[in-house]
Amino acid sequence: MTEAEELREFADREYEFGFVTDVESDSLPPGLDESTIHQISKRKGEPDWLLEYRLKAFRHWLTMEDPSWPKVERNTIDYQEIIYYSAPKPKKTLDSLDEVDPELLETFEKLGISLDEQKRLSGVAVDAVFDSVSVATTFSDKLAELGIIFGSFSEAVKEHPDLIRKYLGSVVPYTDNFFAALNAAVFSDGSFCYIPAGVRCPMELSTYFRINAAGTGQFERTLIIADDQSTVSYLEGCTAPMRDENQLHAAVVELVALEGATIKYSTVQNWYPGDADGVGGIYNFVTKRGLCKGKRSKISWTQVETGSAVTWKYPSCVLLGDESVGEFYSVALTNNMQQADTGTKMIHIGKSTSSTIISKGISAGRGQNTYRGLVDVKKGATDARNFSQCDSMLLGDRCGAHTFPYIEVRNPTAKVEHEATTSKIGEDQIFYCNQRGISTEDAVSMIVNGFCKEVFSELPMEFAVEAQKLLAVSLEGSVG
């Protein structure tokens, strides 16, 4: 088989997780105006201040323009065609997993994330967001013993309004960008996590997001607060069923790390990428930002992006506290007609702050992969340190790999380094493996996994395995 044929075969692979769960849902009609926001707020039984916040965000959103600067081509989104609220019909309060809709549980099983299994085997507490409402939260009681609050955003609004009020929008204000404003106006649900001072969270916290009901956009909001000297590792993974029309996913994630706190946020993203001709697929426009507020705090982003038709996000760190640390590890893979414009922003404000950026981009098929990152050293950021490394790998001659770093330094004591390389898998490397009885496919997978090793080693163990599998599936046949 020639290289091109092999490539084609790999590229023709169907999306494995494409299925639709048939759950009755209680939705608002499509469209967006102030009454939509009133209704969302009412259905969720929210306090007035939150409704006010939503309305302010909405009014600001109306003054903004849909941005066009990223290096991606996409259809314009009709914001009046989106259903802004969709919840599986409320049955009764759920105390245990047994009460969850069996069909729903089956869906999770197909994705290989059976809550029961996870609960028993891996010690991972899962807050499963099914469309817009959190339907099952496990381990909450166990976490509650330590004073850790982990649950759905809407519950937190009711139970911990002070914390929400204090931190909501403090890292990503609704004025930040178009999609952050939209999210602030219509966010449906999400996760909230608070780790009290001095507590080391004993397990990985995890949420699986799925977009399900046809035509629903999902607008989650995640807020994680790590109090003084606490530590938490949060995992987020996504798979979405096959759809033909483009679906928008505009989430906001805010992290706040106080003095000495550490937050590790890992994502494996595998939304439906659209078919080989670029029809359908998810638009993943997410605003993620962490604030290292206290001294010696640390925020670490790790992401493995293999899905979505268009991925466009920049998980960022604002290094405000002295000696705070920001990290960004990323693997982004684009195949077929997928496009990704992703990277990070490291904003150094405090003294002796340091940041590391490791980005690995893999392009196959006709995929376009762009790294765009900002390292900004402000005037007062004495002895700031940054190291960035952006490597790209091209598989095939119809894809593109682009690197657009922005480095702005206003302090002479800063040490900033950036390096980037672009390469392909050499025929000699494949030949070497073939000679030793390793199939071309395995060789490619092996080389790519080696290429991404620095990032995978940052992932929690169970995620690392999943990520490697995901990469192998997404890549199969893309190279010769």
Partner: protein, 433 residues
């Protein structure tokens, strides 16, 4: 408000030209229209986000007055030059130039001459290098197209050994203002030429320079650009079109300047091309030094090498925005790009954007960028040998910047430029402790 005065001024001047060629006239009108519409772009514009054009928009827009016979300020560059071309306040000055030793293989004439004798050829040359896209400085150059220089090496395989000295002088002593110069260079197949381009200015001026360079197969052009101290606002744009196996070497040196924007666009149209883009710059005071380079690798087997190094003291700001664009068919491209900056003071700022855009898989592309201060250990090493702190810094700065001069064969000239760069580091502003 401000742009209005500019566009009024430009309109008045532009309509005074009595062009012969219809094409040239069309170009002028279109450029005028575009400039009136867009003016100077602001910070929201991605390509101009680091360039404070507001300084210019408020600056002098009137044309510069005719200057005296003498060429004022700064000492002459050393070296044995074959010929000298003087362009004073935008005007080719045959009386100040010296073209007596030119061999027959090379022809130099003023652009005004070409504009009168063959306006259609000029229009087609302009079309070749500058598209109709809106660009404030190119639009100004088109709208106010008057004079400049046209250099041709017409004999195939001609090797011109000593360099031609091109001196741009902007004299704003009598009255502040602006001048616009267009230069065209064409090398025949296998020809070789060296240029030393010098830019001097005094007073409040805006110098707007652009070059269109066409390199036929196997030709070699080596160019040194020296921006002398105390330069005012200078835009310097070059568009190079390289044919098969041609070489282009460019060395940019600048020791200060209020606002310098250096734009360089090299396009590899034939296989086996190579280009070297080297730059060394030093800024002090409120200098703003802005470098924008694009290399278009359009066909296979081409190589490029780019190194820009800057040293910034006081409140100076250095910007580097480099783009390597590898087109889908440009297999086996080998491109290197690096930008290193040293910040010597609290107020200095460096912004760098080394960009890669790659659409072919069998390529080697690397870029790197570093920003930092001088190595304290190296300074200590020198101090422990009796070198004063200021002197130690100067030595290190010289070592840092002169690395890009290695390509320059003329040692006398390279030493001279290195001296000028070294002198323009502000020793008072360097000691932040």
């Amino acid at each position: 408000m401000v742009v209005e005065t500019w566009s009024e001024q430009v309109q008045t001047c532009s309509l005074n030209f009595d062009d012969q060629g219809a094409e040239l006239k069309k170009r002028r009108e279109r450029a005028l229209e575009q400039f009136e519409q867009h003016g100077f772009p602001g910070r929201k514009h991605e390509e101009w986000r680091y360039t404070p054009l507001s300084r210019l928009a408020a600056g002098p827009c009137a044309p510069l007055l005719e200057s005296s016979q003498e060429i004022p300020f700064c000492p002459d560059l050393p070296g044995d030059m074959l010929a000298k071309v003087v362009i004073l306040n935008g005007e080719f000055r045959a009386d100040l130039s010296d073209l007596s030793r030119l061999p027959a293989a090379i022809r130099i004439q003023s652009l005004a001459q070409l504009r009168h004798s063959d306006p259609d050829q000029l229009a087609s040359l302009l079309d070749l290098y500058w598209t109709q896209d809106s660009h404030p400085f190119h639009d100004l150059s088109d709208a106010l197209l008057d004079d400049g220089v046209h250099i041709e090496v017409v004999e195939e395989g001609a090797k011109i050994d000593s360099p031609i000295h091109i001196m741009h002088v902007f004299d704003g002593q009598a009255r502040s203002g602006s001048a616009h110069v267009t230069g065209l260079i064409q090398l025949a197949a296998g020809a070789q030429l060296q240029l030393v381009e010098e830019i001097r200015s005094v007073g409040q001026v805006l110098g707007n320079l652009r070059w269109g360079v066409g390199l036929d197969p196997r030709s070699i052009l080596k160019r040194v650009r020296a921006f002398r101290p105390e330069c005012a606002s200078i835009f310097h744009g070059t568009r190079v079109i390289q044919q098969q196996d041609s070489r282009f070497e460019d060395l940019f040196c600048s020791s200060g300047g209020d606002l310098i924007r250096n734009e360089l666009h090299v396009s590899h149209e034939g296989t086996g091309c190579h280009c070297d883009l080297l730059g060394a710059y030093a800024g002090r005071g409120k200098n703003h030094l802005d470098h924008h380079t694009t290399i278009d690798h359009k066909v296979e087997d081409c190589t490029s090498n780019e190194i820009y190094r800057g040293v910034l003291s006081d409140l100076a700001r250095g910007v580097f925005s480099g783009m390597i664009h590898v087109h889908p068919d440009a297999q086996r491209t080998d491109a290197k790009q690096s930008n290193d900056t040293i910040l010597l003071s609290e107020g200095a700022e460096a912004d760098t954007r080394p960009r890669l855009e790659i659409y072919a898989d069998d390529v080697k592309c690397t870029h790197g960028a570093t920003i930092g201060e001088l190595d304290e250990e190296a300074i200590f090493y020198l101090r422990s040998r009796g070198v004063s702190p200021d002197e130690a810094r100067k030595i290190l700065v010289r070592a840092f910047t002169s690395e890009v001069f290695h390509a320059l064969e003329d040692r006398q000239l390279s030493d001279f430029i290195a001296d000028e760069i070294q002198q323009s580091i502000n020793p008072d502003g360097t000691d932040r402790r």
